[in-house]
């Protein structure tokens, strides 16, 4: 009998080296958990997108013809909303890019609680499975907002199951937020002071605060719905001494700040891309950093602007209206600072930059129409019309999804070690921008003309704008499928990106791509401020390249 030779294996070089399913499902590596999230949110994005496609097909003609019943349409837009918000937008940037990058950016080995991080993914998957189960076996027709008294007294669909799904998924978001806050407080490398943190980290810190403070209230609201449906506890039913508007207070206490859970990470990504492709230090670092925290705090004071026509007191409405105008200030500070960063920069229009510039324009439009909606009188006119739908899609799709795609392109060389094809990247960015505007700009007009949201039939005079919108949606769909295809194809080639293809600052660019399992080979010490870019140097390099080419 021979004794097997003892083989001392070298530790795997990069985090993608191990291939077994077990090594993925039991990983506690923040980079791998990020990848797990990336795969899952992509699946949910396309499921939610399929629901949107069906809706746009239905709305091509004034009569209901694609779907059998109005009820089917109700279930469709509910599933679109629930999936896109809870299973895509909220985890998209923090759980994918945040998980992957946060420890790298602050010079840490991993997040503070690696096992909790993996657990958050499992919790998310359980919630997501229940979500899919609902979709297959009946659906929900309350809209993603679960408004009472419809959800508690009248809806015959799987409201309680949906409440369970949302409740469970909320915990994955709380765990992520908790992990980020503790990590930023305790795991920064020596020399990585608070004002040397990349703005990506500041924004994610602010996002995490909202996740921790807000999500429990959402959990409570959906539990109360379930209690009232199952046991008839009188919380929202007036006949039992309850109040239906109380639900809207509880729900929006979370769900307005949730808008910032979705868009603050978008700010995070854009704050990294803009200085890199303008080759200038970011303008007004501290203002951008503190405006993130200000947004996190103010976002909790404005929720009543969703309730102007609900029967809420007029005086409360006035206060919420004024406060909503105030929350626009920190967002505006960011937009102005990004624009100022571009000034006298040496701008390169690569794919991530195209997405980031698209983000700034579309987010600004979404934000400014938000101010219109925060005005009491205008809101009464356009409440529950397509104007609202257009407004929040400008923020969520024009903002968050653009930023997510920009970020995925920007860090794809780091995540996968491979470059994506630049030509196709630029094309996808252009298609998404054009398709997006064609889809949603007509909806501003439709809403202003009085077309209500959430109906599957409409008056014939609205058809032209609806057809435009559907046409835009098909362009948008192509723009979204393209990156999926070329990014997957890029994986077939051996790693070719090198550690820092963009010449970017930041610790994550100092390690190889894909990063080693333990992130850094040597202890990290930070000695300088972030965003040390020089436009003059970039111009000199450019002139040199031109010279070489011409010679």
């Amino acid at each position: 009998m021979s004794v097997p030779a003892v083989v001392v294996e070298d530790p795997p070089e990069d985090y993608l080296q191990e291939h077994t399913l077990k090594s993925w499902l039991l990983t506690t590596d923040h980079k791998r958990v990020g990848i797990l999230y990336m795969i899952s949110v992509t699946v949910f994005f396309f499921v939610g997108g399929a629901a949107a496609t069906l809706m746009r097909l239905e709305l091509m003609t004034p009569r209901g013809d694609v779907l059998a019943t109005p009820d089917a349409y109700n279930r469709l837009f509910t599933m679109h909303g629930v999936i896109m918000i809870f299973f895509f937008l909220i985890p998209a940037i923090p759980a994918v890019l945040g998980n992957f990058l946060l420890p790298l950016m602050i010079g840490a080995r991993d997040l503070a609680f690696p096992k909790l991080n993996l657990m958050s993914w499992y919790v998310y998957i359980i919630g997501g499975m229940i979500g899919i189960w609902i979709m297959v076996f009946g659906g929900v027709d309350t809209g993603w907002t679960f408004y009472t008294p419809f959800s508690t007294m009248f809806s015959n669909t799987m409201v309680v199951t949906a409440a369970v799904a949302v409740f469970i998924t909320g915990f994955s978001s709380i765990l992520t937020g908790l992990n980020f806050v503790v990590t930023v407080h305790t795991m920064r490398a020596p020399g990585m002071t608070w004002f040397r943190l990349p703005l990506f980290v500041w924004s994610h810190y602010a996002t995490s605060l909202i996740m921790i403070l807000g999500t429990p209230v959402l959990a409570i609201s959906v539990v109360l719905i379930a209690l009232e449906r199952i046991f008839g506890v009188g919380i929202f039913d007036p006949a039992l001494g309850g109040d239906p508007i109380l639900f809207q207070h509880l729900f929006w206490f979370y769900s307005h700040p949730a808008v910032y859970i979705m868009v603050l990470p978008g700010f995070a990504v854009v704050s990294e891309i803009i200085p890199c492709f303008a080759r200038r230090p970011i303008f007004g670092y501290k203002f951008i950093a503190f405006s993130s925290v200000a947004i996190a705090i103010f976002s909790f004071l404005v929720w009543g602007h969703h309730m102007f026509v609900s029967g809420q007191s007029m005086y409360a409405g006035m206060i919420f209206s004024i406060l909503s105008f105030l929350v626009a200030i920190p967002s505006a500070i960011k937009v102005f600072n990004w624009t100022a960063t571009l000034y006298k920069g040496s701008i390169r229009l690569d794919t991530p930059m195209l997405y980031a510039l698209g983000f700034i324009g579309l987010f600004t439009m979404g934000g400014l129409t938000g101010l219109m909606l925060a005005s009491l009188a205008i809101d009464v006119h356009v409440h529950d019309t397509y104007f609202i739908v257009a407004h929040f899609h400008y923020i969520m799709v024009g903002g968050t999804v653009m930023a997510y795609l920009g970020g995925v392109h920007f860090w794809w060389p780091k995540i996968s070690g491979r470059m994506y094809p630049e030509f196709w990247g630029k094309l996808s960015a252009m298609l998404v921008f054009v398709g997006f505007n064609l889809t949603f700009f007509p909806q501003f007009l439709l809403g202003y003309l009085g077309m209500p949201r959430r109906y599957f039939e409409y008056r014939p005079e609205f058809q032209v704008l609806n057809v435009m919108s559907t046409a835009g949606a098909s362009i948008l769909a192509i723009g979204y499928v393209m990156p999926l295809v070329y990014m997957l194809l890029s994986l077939r080639k051996p790693p070719n990106a090198g550690p820092n293809p963009w010449g970017a600052t930041g610790l994550e660019w100092q390690v190889e791509s894909p990063p080693p399992v333990h992130n850094f080979h040597d202890p990290v010490v930070v000695t300088c401020d972030p965003y040390m870019y020089s436009p003059e140097e970039a111009e000199r390099d450019y002139a040199h390249d031109q010279h070489v080419r011409n010679a």
Partner: protein, 99 residues
């Protein structure tokens, strides 16, 4: 960071205090219907919550940052209640003809 170890005695005292308050809540429900039931029940519940937070959740023995976190979360709860109640109390202020 050191962990303060709480004596079993302390846990027991808090535990029996909570049980006593539980009986107080049940007892209060037998008061005549003119008594301020909500006020009494809420006061007792608040005291119980504070005991749990301070001792069972170790906040009493924790460092300043933990205190800040605990107080800030209560502040956030206050925000929720204050704005919601502001709506409830001011709903009737405006006379709407025909209502």
């Amino acid at each position: 960071m050191t962990h303060h170890i709480i004596a079993v005695r302390t846990y027991l005292i808090i535990y029996f205090a909570l049980i006593a308050f539980l009986f107080a809540t049940v007892g209060a429900s037998f008061l005549p219907s003119t008594a301020p039931h909500l006020l009494i029940a809420m006061t007792i519940a608040t005291i119980k919550a504070v005991l749990i937070i301070l001792f069972f959740m170790h906040v009493y023995y924790s460092n300043r940052l933990t205190w800040i976190v605990a107080v800030a979360s209560l502040l956030w709860l206050t925000l929720l209640l204050a704005f919601t109640l502001a709506d409830y109390f001011s709903r009737g202020w405006l006379d709407i003809p025909g209502k």
